[in-house]
Symmetry: none
Subunit: 413 residues, 2 copies
Amino acid sequence: MSKNKILLAIADGVGDRPVECLGGRTPLEYARKPTLDALAATGSSGIMDLYKLGSPVGTDLGHMLLFGYEYADYPGRGPIEAFGEGVELQAGDVAFRANFATVDSELVVVDRRAGRIRQDTDKLAAALNGMQIEDIRVVFKEATEHRAVLILRGPGLSEEISDTDPKVEALKYKKAKATAPTAEAEKTARILNQFLLQANEVLLAHPVNREREAAGKLPANFILTRGAGIMPNLRKTAEDLKVRAACIAAESTVLGVARLAGIKPITDPRFTGNIDTDIALKAKTAVEALKDNDFVVLHFKAPDLMGHDNNPEGKVKAVETFDRLMGFVMEGLSSVEENVIVALAADHSTPCERREHSGDPVPVLISGRNIRKDGNTTFDEMAAARGGLNRVSANMFFNHLMDYLEATKKRGN
Amino acid sequence: MSKNKILLAIADGVGDRPVECLGGRTPLEYARKPTLDALAATGSSGIMDLYKLGSPVGTDLGHMLLFGYEYADYPGRGPIEAFGEGVELQAGDVAFRANFATVDSELVVVDRRAGRIRQDTDKLAAALNGMQIEDIRVVFKEATEHRAVLILRGPGLSEEISDTDPKVEALKYKKAKATAPTAEAEKTARILNQFLLQANEVLLAHPVNREREAAGKLPANFILTRGAGIMPNLRKTAEDLKVRAACIAAESTVLGVARLAGIKPITDPRFTGNIDTDIALKAKTAVEALKDNDFVVLHFKAPDLMGHDNNPEGKVKAVETFDRLMGFVMEGLSSVEENVIVALAADHSTPCERREHSGDPVPVLISGRNIRKDGNTTFDEMAAARGGLNRVSANMFFNHLMDYLEATKKRGN
């Protein structure tokens, strides 16, 4: 018999709560999803806590837990973003999430996203990258739209430093402060504050901003930072288990966490991170990735967005699109020689009524010829709760999948 | 949409085992309980371990776990009782549960509860309160019936000291002994032993006891102690989460644990802690408390008492009374504007056949418009075990409830 391979499809934020306009059903319960239901009928479902019941997690931490990390491994958002943008972090680097923003002459924030700038942020970033403040070197790289990554590199820095993003507009940017009484934190705050002012000067004078202003657009004349973190020396979970793995996604956060785990990130401009993503191409890419990999992760973002927008009908559509994506995958798998186990999971619930991630458990599923059958015929939160996996943690679920790849270690004899 | 509020009703000791005289059913399975069953039909049930499967917990620890504390936070019964009686503990205070008891001239215990004394214990307590032994001050306060609280206050005390209550009658009181080889424990034992003898002298001569003897009643001429503990500096769980909370109960232990957690204790002389408690008033008080609070706990003691008495029919009646209490609550909730989620839990099982708390899991339930529906139609131990919450710990259950109040912290981004 050939060895098993695994395709893990992650429906971001798909877990929900009963919604009145859906007749008291959850979007998963309401949606037409023949492929997901067929998968449920050939495997075992369960409910999964990412960190712990009642404690919401972000997409980054949720994916870390799904990829075999522990809660304590979480390094903060800055390093995860930097990783996602392909910046190689060095020991001692402090990484921040950054936004291009617009401030007035009093440094009051006019727009936290600089008019949702999309063009030429690479040129603006290049003007900031390589700046030297005292003995610290600035690494600055643009990301999607108004987003960017800032890294301070050099001796004696700390991650214990406050956010400079005021989070709301019409307030002045917040000066960075040390959140611990150490010389390292004081130094980091001093360097960062100086960077922000120097960056403001450089950006004010930059041709890209002069052109924006001439065209009546808000200039990207300030950098707001948050989520300071130092990347610890984390093991690459998939690589450690000697599992050849790939992750197909649009979202840089997910791709970054994958790369962290030693899972090869695969993306394409046609993967949009929304409901209009090219599902046929995504399915094809996933099936192809199974040729060279034992573990392929396929990420689908739309359900989470619909939850954040409190759009239950949209979430139903997102689930139905996810179902079609999985339909394409199942078609494609018929040409794969190996036994492919298909698993479904989510990185957290995003209930429409909450408009935010919640600590409700998520439904999970593992399906295939050689997977125990629990008799479920649908895939949704409550069918899963009655399923054969009972209640598992994300860590247990990952470990369970790895065991089907015979990658986990036997203990005892 | 309005925010959620939560009413958590605790049926003390309600979990049980099959009882022969109930046709092999548990009291919960046997009882007629239309309101509890209706709640099951609109939510998710599960089974809950308070500490861990097979380890019985007391009412105090059970409620601490239900209110978000960890097992390691438990400070011992003495401090909990003191807290319940409204005694403000200071750092280093050693608190004991105390009984007024009757001893003979050889200090052999004749009655551990001094003829279940109910009257004038405040006068007896006043005669002991403020006593000074070496550099230690005695704080003594009467509680319900024969119960009282003893606090030793001063430098160099220890909680590592044995109980002086022999637990059975016709034995001499047990001299306190240090249970650790420290100067502090030795000192505490010496002070406590001297207090017991001085208290005996004061009580023998007290007019209240002369009157009791003249009336043919047993004198309350001795103090028996147990449950020594030092109150650690515990966080107030509800206050920490910024949740406005209240607890409606008769039992001082429950009220004390509530106060500890930053949950406002509410009681009334008509709440008896037994099956004759005024359930209409209790329901009304709970519904009213929802106006100013987001989290209201409603405690009902009777099932536990019936378990301790091995009275299955009585426990069935207690369950049916609890059901009527919840019926009054549900009627009252129709006038509350916010979405009120109703949760049911117990602090431990008290199986009739065991006559004591057991480590069997307890059934729990969370019910409401926006709670996932598991299709259960009854509320009992076994229906709950098949329910949508599967198996949770008390800590997870509390965290889950707090998440519905959006009081838990999101980790990651």
